[in-house]
């Protein structure tokens, strides 16, 4: 006879009860962990990507230098308004011919490994950046340096073959972060799993693609950063997490798992009403979003066509519709607070919304209601730029310009823009591009022949850009920058649109106080408490 094995009801009930208890216990652990994290002074900051390297001389991505600014210090620093001031270096002297800059360091600066930071470390950093075999990828930004000499433990002299106007502003940048000589002993680990600087946080670990864990540098001294706290950060740990999905970051903020993160733009209005979160908007980012044109073929080889586009765009109206006050109109080829970003001056030499003038210029070129101008408008995804270009498309339609929109990632856009500049046939294209830099030397990179994208260039513009680059006197340099901007704007080589434009909005848990974004979009945690 077959035996039928029955499970008793009581043992089955017991198994189910054990399962439920197990699930509840497992669920309780993350809650406990969340509470524990907040209590032990660890702040979690989530971003939409990961750093490429912890070596400031190997990468230029924003995600990378945001972390450099936590681990390292620079010789100089921008104040709130974007003016250059002291930091690791308490003073500097530029020689009358502009070919030598002497920097004097503050005393009592300590590296994370306990060694004192001296002029030898400055020399090590700059020599490494200029190394012939393996130079920094931003080598050109250091300028035409011929030698770096240690005058005494607190003074270093940097000599140039010709004056380089952008040197001092570059000394404020995280890509010119000062390394400690201890980094040389780390070998292949430097920038990958280890880093020694003098910054407010020390590196604990980097799980590539997941998170960077930093701990407070208790010996830290803030000599020049625009933060109230002049010593070690208040928080014990800063965890920089990589969470690609914006909705996931928002979810993490709501649960308290994250304390600082960039939210989805579409949720900004909701966040404003959410009492558990506050919005922090970066100002003075130096981010410039502008239109530029493929100028080596019709129609945009003719300045009238470019000017027609400039007249046709109601930029203020479009920004209000799409961003509602989250961004500012930018009229200059360099965005504030970069030297040269004077809105009144740029407005006086640029073009304002005037659809009738746009139509008149198009008529001169042979376009009209019976023969609309067909063009292609390119831009890169993210930051609600797709909505913005749709509004622009509509505005262009009103004056008889049919603009087909193509959106792509920034890498593809960069390649495409160069391709379009190399083509001699095909519909006219123009693109909404974005660049960020802290010095008007960016104009040299973009517009000095052959140009960043092989676009517009003229000998006159080249000469001005070269003079501006080699001018060490701020006043005469500003005059040259104005001359450059006048050409770019009057010839409608570029049409500045707005600033900022990417990664500029942060949502912060309400209990977190003191988080701010310094000039040129540098998140600062020195004053944070929660």
């Amino acid at each position: 006879m077959a035996q039928v094995v029955r499970t008793s009801k009581s043992s089955r009930t017991g198994r189910i009860a054990a399962l439920v208890l197990g699930v509840l216990a497992g669920a309780a652990v993350p809650l406990a962990a969340l509470g524990a994290r907040a209590a032990d002074g660890t702040l979690v900051w989530a971003r939409d990507g990961d750093s490429d390297s912890l070596d400031p001389q190997r990468t230029t991505t924003t995600l990378s230098w945001e972390v450099f600014a936590q681990i390292y210090d620079s010789l100089l620093a921008f104040d709130e308004s974007g003016k250059i001031g002291p930091h690791l270096a308490k003073s500097w002297v530029v020689s009358p011919d502009g070919k030598e800059v002497s920097l004097t360091l503050n005393g009592d600066i300590t590296c994370h490994d306990g060694a004192p930071f001296t002029a030898e470390d400055v020399k090590y950093t700059i020599d490494r950046a200029l190394d012939a075999k393996n130079p920094s990828i931003t080598k050109a930004s250091w300028g035409p340096i011929t030698s770096v000499d240690v005058v005494n433990p607190e003074t270093v002299s940097v000599k140039f073959s010709s004056p380089f106007g952008a040197f001092l502003s570059f000394m404020t940048d995280p890509m010119a972060s000062m390394l400690c000589r201890g980094d040389a002993k780390l070998g292949d680990k430097f920038g990958v799993s280890a880093a020694i600087g003098t910054g407010p946080f020390k590196l604990v670990s980097w799980t590539k693609g997941d998170q960077i864990v930093l701990e407070r540098n208790t010996a830290y001294k803030n000599f020049g950063l625009p933060a109230q706290n002049k010593s070690a950060p208040h928080i014990a740990k800063l965890v920089v997490k990589n969470i690609t999905e914006a909705q996931s970051r928002l979810a993490g903020l709501k649960t308290g798992e994250l304390q600082v993160a960039e939210p989805p733009l579409a949720e900004v209005t909701t966040i404003k009403d959410d009492k558990t979160l506050t919005l922090v908007t970066a100002k003075n980012t130096g981010q410039d979003n502008f239109f530029e044109f493929a100028v080596h073929r019709p129609p945009f080889n003719d300045a009238r066509a470019r000017k027609a586009i400039a007249y046709a765009l109601d930029i203020d109206g479009a920004l209000d519709i799409v961003y509602g006050g989250l961004v500012d109109r930018e009229r200059c080829p360099v965005a504030h607070p970069v030297m040269g970003s004077e809105q009144d001056f740029c407005k006086s030499v640029g073009y304002d919304y005037d659809p009738e003038k746009a139509k008149a210029l198009l008529a001169e070129l042979g376009y009209g209601p019976d023969k609309p101008l067909d063009v292609v408008m390119l831009s890169w995804t993210g930051g609600d730029r797709d909505k913005l270009v749709q509004v622009f498309q509509n505005q262009l339609q009103q004056v008889g310009i049919h603009a087909k929109i193509e959106m792509m990632d920034i890498g593809t856009l960069n390649a495409r823009v160069t391709q379009e500049n190399e083509k001699t046939t095909g519909p006219g294209t123009f693109d909404l591009m974005g660049w960020a830099w802290f010095d008007p030397d960016i104009l040299y990179a973009l517009w000095h022949s052959p140009g960043a994208y092989k676009g517009y260039s003229t000998p006159e513009l080249d000469a001005l850009l070269e003079k501006s680059r080699t001018s060490a006197d701020p006043t005469s340099r500003l005059g040259l920058v104005h001359d450059i901007e006048k050409i770019l704007l009057q010839e409608a080589v570029m049409i500045p649109v707005y600033t900022p434009g990417w990664n500029w909005i942060y949502a912060v848990r309400a209990e977190v106080k003191g988080f701010k974004v310094g000039p040129f979009k540098r998140p600062m945690f020195n004053d944070v408490t929660f």
């Binding site: 750093s51 490429d52 920038g191 590539k208 999905e245 979810a251 993490g252």
Partner: protein
């Protein structure tokens, strides 16, 4: 058996080799220069510097030379360095691979449990409302977009109920992504299980087992399910490949630190060496799993070896 395994192993090696050639060719057809993209937002780089970097990376050589150099390095265990950040690739991939494997295997487990359960129940109660319900649930699972389901699970279980973290790298953080991927894969397993089991339930030996008065559990598990495992194991092997692909999306939704997320980043950055390393690793993994499935198949049904 040895001959069978050798044939399968050779097939796997050829598959991987062809994959690497295809990858090298395809990558160079995609628009965008990786060196230019690497320096895209770096305004101070000179054209000479770009050329130096291009030369150091071997990108100025003909494709076949690049491939030959790459393969010789790979055979020595050197997958090169990333273009962005100059990170050694093999440790990077090996560090992330366990996360993807954990996700793929756990979601396969979820898919198997749900799929086998639904399929078996549907077959056993064939023609009834329960059969229809099981199939509707299964189809619902495969119809739901992975991305959407993931976000909903985060909203419900992480945000509303606070049962799980939104993002993490421990075993608790694996539950929601595994569920997401598993549910969407379960339908295939369920449908195949149902049709296989229906076929088996109609076999004479099952009728004999019932006639002998064996307990239902014995008939269903020892006689019916065991016989049905062969085609199911085959589909599981294919599902593993599909799951690995789906893991790319799920890893991004849940910020799970596997190689899928790394691959997406590499593609956007045109990081050629990293993309190649990822594809090679992925191809090896899929080939190995297919090989394992072939072995398991042969164990379950010795007739396979002699075909």
């Amino acid at each position: 058996m040895a001959r069978y395994l050798l044939k399968r192993l050779l097939s796997a090696v050829v598959t991987i080799w062809v994959t690497t050639i295809a990858v090298v060719l395809l990558i160079h057809l995609v628009p965008g220069d990786p060196v230019k993209i690497m320096f895209a937002q770096s305004q101070s780089t000179t054209p000479e510097q770009l050329e130096t970097v291009r030369h150091n990376l071997g990108l100025d050589r003909p494709i076949y030379e690049q491939y030959a150099i790459y393969m010789s390095r790979v055979l020595h265990g050197d997958f090169g360095h990333t273009i962005r950040g100059d990170q050694p690739i093999l440790p990077l991939l090996l560090g992330r691979l366990p996360y993807t494997l954990a996700l793929a295997l756990s979601s396969l487990l979820v898919a198997t449990v749900i799929g086998l359960g639904l399929g078996f129940l549907a077959a056993y109660k064939r023609g009834t409302a329960l059969d229809s319900l099981c199939m509707v649930l299964a189809i619902g699972g495969v119809s739901v977009p992975v991305f959407w389901l993931g976000q909903i699970l985060i909203l419900v279980f992480a945000v509303r109920l606070s049962w799980f973290q939104v993002a993490g790298s421990d075993w608790r953080s694996l539950i929601l992504p595994a569920l997401t991927l598993g549910v969407t894969n379960a339908a295939v397993v369920a449908r195949l299980t149902r049709s296989t089991m229906i076929d088996i339930f109609n076999q004479d030996y099952i009728r004999t087992a019932w006639a002998k008065g064996l307990p239902a559990r014995t008939v269903l598990s020892r006689h019916a399910l065991r016989a049905g495992l062969v085609p199911i194991v085959t589909i599981l092997g294919l599902q593993f490949t599909y799951t690995m692909g789906g893991a790319v999306i799920v890893e991004n939704v849940f910020s799970w630190n596997g190689i899928g997320r790394l691959a997406v980043q590499a593609i956007f950055q045109r990081d050629y060496p990293l993309i190649q390393g990822f594809i090679l690793t992925f191809a090896c993994l899929v080939a190995l799993v297919s090989l394992a499935m072939d072995v398991l198949y042969a164990v379950l049904d010795p007739r396979i070896v002699h075909v």
